[in-house]
Symmetry: C2
């Protein structure tokens, strides 16, 4: 530690500039990290955040969602956006923070499968409205009994809501309506645009009815295709295998139980008195009878190590809410109308030791499957996380990585990029490890990638059978045509030899050959296979 | 807004669970967003954060950096890490927040080119130590006059530092030493490992001396290769073209000037009284004489629109600190020892209307260029942001995107993936728009991608000339050999006809031919070209 130059600036001088910043200031400066990068993407991000919140709210409240999105152009790269739902609404006491404080909400800390999980999205929209048009968002909410309207904007420096123009209104409706004006956005009908986002949302949420009014006034509707409510999300307790030392300590120090043992039975799933006894036998130094507030890092580390040696029943899987095989099939048929499809729902698995997740995968081939490229259809991947379409950052996503690493030749696909094939993957979990705050890509964790690969491969096996069948069929067709060419000639020759009528012989021969190749004359079977 | 099911849960019930969370809690749950994803990457992230801070601190203080990194294995996937520098140190009054409060620091709000720009990195390390080993980090700091040591950890719930064991020590050194224990990490010698990270850091920071002690005790040194200090980062004023309406308003409302006009001259670069007059002539409704605190969104919007119509001198480019052409050439030669290279530093450009940035690019061909693949060398890209190597998330990066979109055939490269070629790109700016909090990929903004493409294409033109020359040379070599084969025969025939000595004729013929092909006998020129 030497070599100081004479004119060195002192630490005190440098640290004169030391300041603390709010999370809102951070995202104001780095709004691209929230998905506000590029005008088209920014508009989709806004719709994504509001629609996701509406779907979650309806699901938690047990309401079949009716969502309406209206987009109007009001200036150069400036749009007004209105999103309304028939959900439970937001109580007046919480509306400010729910919509204008980053990292505030009901979802972040709960172990429950929901689309949102961070408490950033809606506040991010309010922030984006403020920095691009300076306008507050206008909110109407009715919980059924009470209704109000107000304007909300965000105090960026302090990450606090500013609520004004509060007014009671008649509770003639139930739900939430948010209207805002946004700059630096653009409506475009593309792969990354709002229409495609809503189309895919409808695909993965068939219980939902969505209506879009485009800037040119055209109305697009995605009607509800099933009227069963999806399972309500269920609060579950964490599985012991998913608990790290620090988690265990933090839980323990906040616990109200009197003993470590009862705290663990209470706080985690699958922990019984018997299991505590097994843990005691392994982590002999740890006093399971002391107050959980007394638990040390060392204790916790020993308990976590012991947990890994005990056999546990798998995590509670009731918490999992998937799209469902029938819905996925119906959606694929509806949108891609393929000549073949195969849909698979795997059994739930865990990652990071104890976080449960489920993968659903579908493969569609032919028809409108794939996306149109310069030289015909190209393979594409439709990604979903907790039923939310992921349109951006595909290259960074575990789903893309899994699909890329599949040896497609084994499934009779010569080049994935050059065939009319679509792969749909939905990952469901109480916690999806997104790689960025904008939640557009699932972190490439090995266990998740492996499970996605298995799911797609399962579906791929059916595809292989189908494409192999297609090939066999085409070979047989050629043979059939070749033989039929000789039938007439052969019938004549035989007629001369036997003296039988040529027409009769020809008819018999034809019947014989057609019988052998009869598979060729049947309409191809509906190829929906589910395992 | 209808269709409420009977058993709907009320908003009040749902919002009972409403909570606010600290940014530390957010990153505790989503540590993968900071780069803590995978054991090898997590270890590299820790080193990256500390080394980056050391380099910035030394640069700001005007000190040639000596950085030492020691890594020891202390358990399964557990390592102790010590990073020390000869920088200015941290004052005792700020050390807690500097190292254990997310979003606190000296860099976030300053318009100055530095490696760090967020105030997240070091606090993220402290957080990661806490959640993986429960241990505080141990700090020794000396500002030259005063020195102290202490333990620091983070109160996650409140995003506050907890500083203990504070002690005065002898100021026998100057600099900062941070030691910590980290779990869920792994030392590995790979493309994404610490050694490669430091190798590339040395490459882009030739004024720096780096020493690494690997877990097996082996010491690796990257000595300083130039002893000129890079330019000290300079605080600059924002250029008016980079100012949005919201920025202008926020600046105005915090300003101490008495008039809008004097505030603007004071706060932004290139704004003079003349320019104010031009703006007045365009934004006629705006009163430039009123107090800046009275500026409305409407005023600001009009001023921003007017700014776009006025001609401005380009942003101040003194703020830019690049690696430098000579350094890049020396580094490439040193590390890749290629048969050809070409280095280009472009003129500074602006993105988003007014944020200045500079791109440097180098292409190396042959020798150790490219990375070794299964079938020989494969093209690769070495990415840097403000001289910091970017090892992860390459597919999401503007640099990768630019290199991918170059028509390499035009530069005599048939397939970039299959030739021994390395492309080095460094983007420098007071603000680099990273796509994620982990700062491993530059957001794919069009202006940045375009400029990177131009830089690589510039360097590519020299490559094209070289590879084309190689081809010409090889054709000529074949011809030369063919002709030489006949010389002996021809000399004999001519000798018989003319009666001259065969040897003499042969020597003359050889000289004639060698003269024509003399280019073949010269050593290939050093192909370092700078434009």
């Amino acid at each position: 530690m030497a070599a100081i130059q004479k004119e060195a600036t002192s630490a005190d001088e440098i640290f004169k500039e030391f300041k603390e910043h709010s999370i809102s200031e951070f995202f104001r400066k780095n709004s691209q990290m929230l998905g506000y990068a590029g005008k088209v993407r920014s508009l989709t991000t806004i719709i994504h955040e509001y629609v996701t919140n509406s779907l979650d709210a309806c699901e938690e409240a047990g309401i079949l969602p009716d969502i309406s999105v209206e987009i109007k152009e009001i200036g150069e790269n400036k749009y007004s956006i209105k999103v309304s739902d028939n959900g439970p609404g937001i109580p007046q006491s919480h509306v400010g923070k729910a919509l204008a404080a980053v990292l505030a909400g009901t979802k972040f800390h709960r172990y429950m499968q929901q689309r949102g999980q961070q408490g950033i999205g809606a506040a991010g929209c309010t922030l984006f409205a403020k920095i691009t048009t300076g306008k507050p968002i206008r909110v109407k909410s009715s919980t059924g009994k009470q209704a109000f309207s107000c304007d909300i904007t965000i105090d960026i420096k302090n990450n606090k809501p500013l609520v004004t123009e509060q007014e009671k209104i008649e509770p003639t409706f139930r739900g939430l309506e948010i209207a805002g004006e946004f700059g630096e956005v653009k409506y475009e009908n593309s792969d990354h645009g709002v229409l495609e986002y809503l189309r895919r949302t409808a695909l993965s949420n068939p219980h939902c009815s969505i209506r879009l009014v485009e800037p040119d006034g055209k109305e697009v509707s995605f009607p509800r295709s099933v009227s069963d409510m999806p399972k309500r999300p269920k609060l579950i307790k964490p599985h012991p295998l998913g608990i790290g030392t620090n988690d265990l300590l933090e839980f323990a120090h906040r616990a109200e139980s009197r003993k470590v043992s009862s705290f663990m039975i209470d706080a985690f799933s699958r922990v019984t008195q018997n299991k505590i006894d097994e843990l005691r036998a392994i982590a002999k130094d740890v006093d399971f009878d002391k107050n959980p507030s007394q638990l040390t890092w060392d204790d916790a580390e020993k308990i976590v190590a012991a947990i890994k040696q005990v056999k546990w029943i798998a995590p509670d899987l009731d918490s999992m809410s998937t799209i469902g095989e029938n819905q996925v099939s119906a959606a694929i048929k509806n949108i891609l109308n393929p000549t073949f499809m195969s849909v698979v729902e795997r059994k739930p698995k865990v990652f990071r030791g104890g976080i449960p997740f489920v993968v659903e995968a579908g493969i569609a081939y032919g028809g409108n499957a794939g996306k149109s490229g310069t030289q015909g259809a190209e393979g594409n991947t439709l990604r979903f996380g907790n039923k939310v379409p992921l349109l951006f950052d595909s290259s960074a996503c575990a789903i893309t990585e899994a699909v890329k690493n599949i040896d497609w030749k084994r499934y009779s696909i010569q080049k994935f990029e050059e065939e009319p094939v679509s792969v749909l993957v939905n990952v469901s979990s109480v916690y999806i490890p997104y790689s960025g705050v904008g939640k557009q890509a699932i972190s490439q964790e090995e266990e998740i990638i492996d499970e996605i690969k298995l799911a797609v491969q399962d579906a791929g096996r059916n595809l292989q059978r189908y494409l192999h069948g297609m090939k066999t069929r085409s070979v047989q067709e050629t043979r059939y045509k070749m033989i039929m060419r000789y039938v007439s000639q052969l019938a004549g020759d035989l007629s001369e030899i036997t003296g039988d009528k040529r027409e009769e012989i020809e008819a018999k021969l034809k019947a014989l050959i057609e019988g052998k190749y009869k598979a060729l004359f049947e309409a191809p079977k509906e190829q929906v296979q589910e395992e």
